[in-house]
């Protein structure tokens, strides 16, 4: 304080006379000192990561956590039917709500324990969830309790309040007039309420602009239908109706779908319960090796920028529009030609029962060609359905180009950024960050202190989806109400409420806005999570094939000699989950990389560039250069580099800051591709950490095949000889050292995992983390081999290194009846239950780790440190109260969600039922699995799903020769390759 006063006095020579204290103290520094709640350096310390800061934050978090305990929602929210009439302490309540990503909604049921949302499940009534969710949605609940969230309104870093902001905006709004200087930038939204407020804003300020932009967008597909049919449409693929599917650079089973519905549908045709069952056939042509590629029956490696050429040649083969064939480099290879010819033949043989789908990375022209192919195959109306889009379809790239130009010219007086993180994610060639400096006032509504927030004048905290009212439409139009589960922890507001504020509406409370439009169906909609009768009708369209095809061909760009393709990250998506430690630690489905992104390239390209895993590459294009460590991915196409977005965040919470490398710096308005790229080795090294370092089962020196770990067969052979998988197996004659246990009575829990349905999407892994309070250990500890995930998502490559197939195998504790871990524990801390569970008594465990050593599947996890020691208080709210938080020095592992079994046992008893019904107990991994690959239940009940699954001829035991008799068995993977491509 003294310093500040003296500051004012300095600069004047001689004696300084002052009239009042006001004059003396009226320096900007002093004003700031008065206005700031905390001293300089105190509220900025979040960027640091020192131990002292962490301790301070923990103390602060403790205070905040105490506050939250006092909060109860003021607005009435209705519990789901599964809830109880009156609140019973210790008993969770379930509420229906909805979350959106990329303008597509997924219905959810969220479990609330004592007012804390703790676990996310899919809403079975919602068509895009059907009871399951993606991995990203599972981790939403951690974002809610993120201690690095924006905690108050601030103006230029000085703490302010919503009232002050409201007053400022009132004055500002009066000056705006027709809104020529007002611009609003938000993410794509399919919320009728937000769209309604958007209209209000534009009605009040006719010259204002509301621009929607998503870093990872699904616009091109809609623009493609515009090209083909003259109107932008949402394309719905009914994968459960298709027998032959050709995916052109589309990871529709993974990250190229904003919801899990495609996987849900696709897997129906993969769960072959009888050898005679039909199974679909999946062709994939792609540059990267994605989860969809791993499921492919036949796969062609092709550059992403060559996909257009491939689409055109397929159109030619199928004689779409009778166009002359343009010679294309992509299919010049014999393999490519053969592939396309075979695919065309197969598709033609399955007219009306096939699907051709292009990935969202592909430009509109490719989507147009694909739409024409589907039309020519007669798929429209059977496997391909068009509806009006639920979100805006304006070309967002053109819109942001215009917006940035206006910002540069100084025409934008007030810019509202409602959600998203444009300063980080905007195409680099727009130089959006520079343009922001020319904006009069930048108002940002962000959940955390991100790059956009850092440059904004007003920094407003955004309410989490579980904290705010809203609504959302699924891609097919089905509306849902977004119901909060907790009062905003840090006083945030939703985009909807902000929009209403901007519009100067009378009603600005989210609850009131939403209720107004859904008043008639209110209670039912809140209960169900969906509003009946809101599904959109199919649009009947017909394209002039020849005309559209030539237009599309004209719009196509040539393939790049060396391309960089950008992907949404399986962990951070577009950077929005960068501060989510669960997702950062979830291994990438294909590379198994954690806490990083990398330049993925083929073994041949890596050799050509002279790089190995971890060698830093300099990737340059259009005068921009980024550095990125190389990672060799078998099955990747040559001369192409795949890069995940969403890393290298400079302003982020303590989890995600500077994790990985920022690929956005290379990305331009050209979209997901960067052509004309030069890649060179820099000589630098960077440590990449993976959870799995060995990718093949075969071992060259001994010729070891390890055929009893993952079993796989072509479906044709399986049909002919269903028991082929078990041929040559010796019936072990085993003399037991210890007396056996009678497992013939009562519940005997067991699990069956269908490798033919599993795509390795990590949803089960995240669900398990959320359900079982599994700690995060960080990159360095993963490097040391100490990750704690109870489910290890194993991925093996099969075949040659350049063009292998891949197979996924979720591996958790297999609950062996003759468990090698049990006999070696000196203190009997791991023992068998009467119901066949291999139990861990944490408080008995002394941590000899002998059990882990003796586990042939290596699924036991040891607490090498107290992983929960330094977590902030707010993070503790995410814990599932039904599951013990483990201390250091003890072993832990999957226990088939024993807490869920016990919960249902109580329910059954309370209902005076004698038995728990089949399917009543669902493990967390089973419940979330979109592919329904996991079946769990009582194997003693011959009618149970799990008992039936285990009767299938493709049921196998991992390393059966050990006679461990695991309760989890696997169903062998089947492939349905085209014999012509053999």
């Amino acid at each position: 304080m003294n310093e500040l006063i003296q500051l004012n006095a300095s600069g004047v020579s001689g004696k300084k006379y002052w009239r009042s204290l006001d004059q003396l103290s009226n320096t900007p520094q002093f004003r700031q000192w008065v206005e700031r709640e905390f001293q300089e350096g105190a509220s900025e310390m979040l960027q640091g990561g020192s131990r002292r800061n962490l301790l301070k934050l923990m103390a602060a978090g403790f205070g905040l956590a105490g506050l939250t305990a006092c909060r109860r929602p003021v607005e009435t929210i209705l519990p789901h039917a599964k809830g109880v009439e009156d609140y019973v302490p210790g008993r969770p309540l379930h509420y229906a709500t909805v979350a959106s990503l990329g303008g597509a909604a997924t219905g959810l049921i969220v479990e609330c324990n004592d007012g804390r949302p703790t676990k996310v499940e899919g809403n079975p009534r919602h068509p895009y969830s059907q009871g399951t969710t993606s991995a990203h949605v599972q981790a939403l609940v951690l974002n809610l309790y993120d201690p690095d969230r924006l905690k108050s309104v601030a103006r230029k870093g000085v703490k302010s309040s919503w009232d002050e902001f409201g007053a400022w905006w009132k004055g500002e709004a009066a000056k705006l007039g027709d809104g020529a200087g007002l611009r609003i930038l938000s993410e794509r939204t399919a919320s009728p309420a937000v769209i309604g407020q958007k209209a209000e804003v534009l009605a009040k300020y006719p010259k204002a602009q509301w621009v929607e932009f998503d870093s990872v967008s699904y616009d091109e597909a809609k623009l493609g239908t515009q090209m083909a049919f003259g109107q932008a449409l949402e394309t719905h693929y009914l994968y459960d109706q298709a027998e032959v599917i050709f995916s052109l650079d589309s990871d529709f089973l993974g990250l190229d779908s904003p919801t899990v519905q495609p996987l849900k549908q696709f897997s129906k045709k993969r769960r072959v319960s009888d050898p005679k069952d039909e199974m679909n056939r999946l062709y994939v042509a792609e540059s990267n090796f994605t989860m969809t590629g791993a499921m492919a029956d036949n796969r062609l490696r092709v550059k992403s920028t060559e996909a257009g050429a491939l689409a055109v040649s397929l159109a030619f083969e199928l004689n779409v529009g009778n166009t002359p064939f343009k010679v294309l480099t992509a299919v010049e290879t014999d393999k490519g030609k053969k592939f396309i010819a075979a695919v065309a033949k197969d598709l033609a043989a399955h007219k009306g029962k096939s699907i051709v789908v292009a990935g969202p990375r592909q430009p509109a022209a490719v989507h147009a060609v694909v739409a024409l192919i589907n039309q020519a195959l007669g798929n429209v109306g059977t496997t391909v359905v068009y509806t009006k889009p639920v979100a805006d379809v304006t070309d967002s790239v053109a819109a942001v180009k215009q917006l940035t130009a206006e910002m540069q010219s100084g025409a934008v007086k007030t810019l509202f950024v409602l959600g998203g993180n444009p300063v980080y994610s905007m195409p680099a060639d727009l130089n959006f960050a520079e343009a922001c400096k020319k904006v009069g006032t930048l108002v940002s509504l962000t959940a955390d202190e991100n790059e956009t927030c850092a440059v904004a004048e007003w920094q407003l905290p955004e309410a989490h989806v579980f904290e705010s009212w809203g609504d959302a439409r699924a891609l097919d139009g089905t509306a849902s109400i977004q119901q909060p589960l907790i009062e905003p922890l840090y006083g945030g507001k939703s985009v909807l409420e902000m929009a209403a504020m901007v519009a100067g509406a009378d009603v600005t409370k989210g609850h009131d806005i939403v209720k107004k439009s859904w008043d008639k169906v209110w209670k039912q909609a809140l209960h169900d999570g969906v509003v009946d009768g809101t599904k959109l009708a199919a649009v009947d369209v017909k394209a002039d094939a020849a005309k559209a095809l030539s237009a599309a061909q004209a719009a196509m760009k040539p393939a790049a000699a060396m391309e960089v393709v950008f992907y949404a990250s399986a962990s951070t998506y577009d950077g929005r989950y960068a501060n989510n430690a669960w997702l950062q630690e979830a291994p990438d489905p294909m590379t198994k990389l954690v806490w990083d992104n990398a330049a993925m390239l083929s073994p041949a390209t890596a050799k050509q560039l002279g790089v190995e895993n971890g060698d830093v590459l300099a990737l340059a294009s259009n005068g921009k250069e980024i550095r990125m460590p190389a990672m060799v991915l078998p099955g990747h196409v040559d001369n192409s580099i795949s890069v995940s977005l969403g890393y290298g965040r400079t302003k982020c919470g303590r989890v995600g800051v500077q994790v990985g490398h920022k690929a956005e710096a290379l990305r331009t308005t050209a979209g997901f591709h960067s052509a004309a790229v030069t890649a060179r080795k820099t000589g630098e090294k960077y440590e990449l950490v993976t959870t799995q370092e060995h990718h093949t089962l075969e071992e060259p020196i001994t010729g070891l095949k390890r055929h009893d770990i993952v079993m796989e067969a072509p479906i044709e052979e399986y049909r002919k000889e269903p028991h082929m998988l078990h041929e040559g197996k010796h019936e072990a004659v085993v003399a037991d050292l210890f007396p056996g246990v009678d497992y013939s009575k009562g519940y005997q829990w067991g699990m069956s995992i269908d490798l033919n349905a599993c795509v390795g999407c990590n949803a089960c892994l995240l669900a398990c983390v959320s359900e079982n309070n599994i700690p995060v250990v960080g990159k360095d500890q993963v490097r040391r081999g100490r990750e704690m995930h109870w489910i290890r998502m194993d991925r093996y490559f099969v075949g040659n290194q350049d063009d292998p197939q891949a197979v996924m195998q979720p591996m958790a504790c297999l609950q062996c009846e003759k468990a090698p871990c049990e006999s070696v524990c000196p203190v009997a801390a791991t023992a068998h239950s009467d119901e066949g569970l291999n139990m861990m008594a944490y408080n008995r465990c002394v941590g000899t780790r002998y059990c882990a050593n003796n586990c042939p599947y290596k699924v036991r996890r040891f607490n090498f440190y107290n992983w929960n020691k330094e977590i902030p208080e707010s993070r503790k709210m995410v814990f599932n109260p039904d599951v013990t938080v483990r201390f250091r020095g003890v072993m832990e592992k999957c226990n088939y969600c024993v807490q869920r079994i016990e919960e249902k046992r109580t329910v059954a008893k309370a209902d005076n039922r004698r038995a728990i019904k089949d399917g009543e107990v669902m493990t967390a991994c089973q419940q979330v699995c979109p592919a329904e690959a996991i079946v769990f239940g009582n194997i003693n009940d011959p009618a149970s799903k799990v008992a039936l699954a285990k009767k299938q001829p493709r049921d196998f035991i991992v390393v059966e020769e050990l006679n461990t008799k695991p309760r989890t068995t696997y169903l062998a993977k089947l492939r349905n390759p085209n014999p012509e491509l053999a």
Binding site: Q692, E693, H694, T696, L697, E699, I701, T702, L704, K705, R706, I709, F738, Q781, R784, G785, R786, E787, R792, D794, R795, Y796, Q809, M811, P820, E822, S823, V824, C825, P826, V827, A828, R844, C845, V846, G847, T848, R849, Y850, A852, N853, N854, P856, Y857, K858, V859, R860, R861, F862, F864, Y865, N866, F887, R888, G889, V890, M891, V958, V959, L962
Partner: protein, 463 residues
């Protein structure tokens, strides 16, 4: 003297103690070591040993405060240097018991010069070894008593007697107890000698208490000899059982590379092998520092080299047998684990082990080499290193790659791993140096038994 040299008995059975020492000289030489100030080498050695021992306690405290994570252990390598060091130290202990018990029963009189020090070494090695089973657990404050079958009301449960770790607890604690008793009983007459020689009241009191009223009467000697024989009989099976049971930690598991029936004899042979190597290492130094060349003769050392040659060859044979069985079993996982030892990421550990344990002892076929002090000292050091690597190879390379390639990993020690191991050496050395300083390092009464009686009679020496 000349007539003695021509005595045909001398040629057949040359004296075990040379230099014509008399009973009195023996007593004087050995007792003086504990009575006079130690040589300067002793201080140097202590200067190294004590800081290292303190480092051990520092590392253990750091470990207990933070967790096992400070070591390099991980998943899949749940045991790393901890159990490697445990088995290594236990193995070293074996020479002492073998020399004192089995060689006693076999009337191998040459043992008398080295048995005391070897037994002390056993005790100190077992003390070092016992640190690991306790501190390698995640919660040593629980393991310290939960591993013992004590009645408990809170938990109302017993230990798991099926677990080899449980057997280990009994085997090692029994071994430590019996070895300590055996050693102490052997010390009693010598302690009485020290008591009788001293004028220092403290020494007189302490040795007086420890010598249990020994007067050296014929009755006492009769009882004493019988007790010693019984203890030798008790210790003998322990030599075989301790390391057999330690080997069960591995042999009863399902892990390829561990799950093998050859382990008990293979481990015992390896233990004796490493134990003798350690005795040579220590005795070569001790006889040099204290000028005991006439008591611990080249003959003693040569005999030990012969034992090393025999056990080393058994160990080499065991290695070969493992490979043969891996091939012969046609078990793919078994075959893999052995190929992985040869050519996998830990190839260097395997080849170090083979060079030190199989090749090094073969030099002892040559008399010239096995009677050369520098050669045997260097080879003994190599064998100590090789035997450490044997345990590391068995533990780490079997664990790091087993059935499912997805779970494979690699073990790298941290500074705490190294600090703890080097620290146990410091503790061992400290204890051994204290033993040299305060207790008779050679069994005075037993050595006298093997002196040439005639020489003493002629010289009229007294006890």
């Amino acid at each position: 003297m000349a007539d003695l040299a021509m005595d045909p008995r001398m040629e057949l059975n040359p004296p075990l103690v040379t230099g014509g020492a008399t009973y009195a000289e023996v007593t004087e030489t050995i007792s003086a070591i504990t009575e006079n100030p130690p040589p300067k080498q002793w201080y140097w050695a202590m200067g190294v040993a004590i800081p290292l021992a303190l480092m051990l306690f520092g590392c253990l405290a750091y470990l207990v405060i933070n967790g096992i994570g400070v070591w390099g252990n991980n998943s899949p390598v749940g045991w790393g240097w901890d159990i490697t060091n445990f088995v290594w130290w236990i193995g070293i202990g074996h020479a002492g018991t073998l020399i004192s018990a089995i060689l006693f029963l076999f009337r191998q009189k040459w043992r008398t010069s080295i048995n005391r020090a070897a037994e002390a070494m056993t005790l100190f090695a077992v003390a070092c070894a016992m640190i690991y089973p306790l501190f390698h657990t995640g919660r040593p404050w629980r393991a310290a008593y939960w591993l013992f079958p004590m009645p408990n009301e809170a938990l109302n449960m017993w230990q798991n007697f099926r677990s080899p770790l449980m057997w280990d607890v009994f085997a090692v604690s029994t071994y430590a107890t019996v070895s300590a008793l055996f050693w102490f009983v052997g010390l009693v007459p010598d302690l009485a000698t020290l008591r009788d020689r001293t004028t220092n009241p403290i020494r007189r009191t302490v040795f007086g208490l420890l010598s249990l009223g020994w007067r050296g009467s014929a009755t006492q000697w009769r009882h004493y000899e019988l007790a010693y024989l019984i203890l030798a009989g008790l210790s003998t099976p322990l030599v075989l059982s301790v390391h057999s049971i330690v080997s069960f930690d591995f042999a009863t598991s399902v892990l390829p590379g561990w799950h093998t029936t050859i382990f008990p004899p293979y481990f015992v042979a390896g233990a004796v092998f490493s134990g003798f190597a350690m005795v040579i290492t220590l005795m070569v130094l001790a006889r040099w520092v204290y000028n005991l060349q006439h008591l611990i003769t080249i003959k003693h050392l040569e005999n030990m080299c012969k034992v090393i040659l025999a056990t080393g060859t058994i160990v080499g044979f065991a290695y070969a047998t493992e490979f043969f069985i891996a091939w012969y079993s046609a078990n793919q996982y078994e075959r893999f684990i052995f190929m992985n030892r040869l050519f996998g990421p830990y190839w260097w550990a395997y080849w170090t082990m083979v060079s030190c344990n199989v090749i090094a002892p073969q030099f002892f076929w040559f008399k010239k080499l096995r009677t050369s002090i520098p050669v045997m000292f260097v080879l003994a050091i190599f064998i100590n290193i090789g035997m450490w690597f044997e345990r590391f190879v068995i533990i780490a390379t079997s664990l790091h790659r087993d059935f499912l390639p997805s779970s494979w990993g690699y073990f790298q020690p941290t500074w705490v791993d190294i600090g703890t191991f080097v620290g146990t050496m410091g503790l061992f050395l400290t204890l051994f140096l204290l033993f040299l300083r305060f207790l008779p390092m050679i069994a005075i009464s037993e050595v006298k038994g093997v002196l040439h009686h005639q020489i003493n009679s002629q010289k009229g020496g007294s006890h």
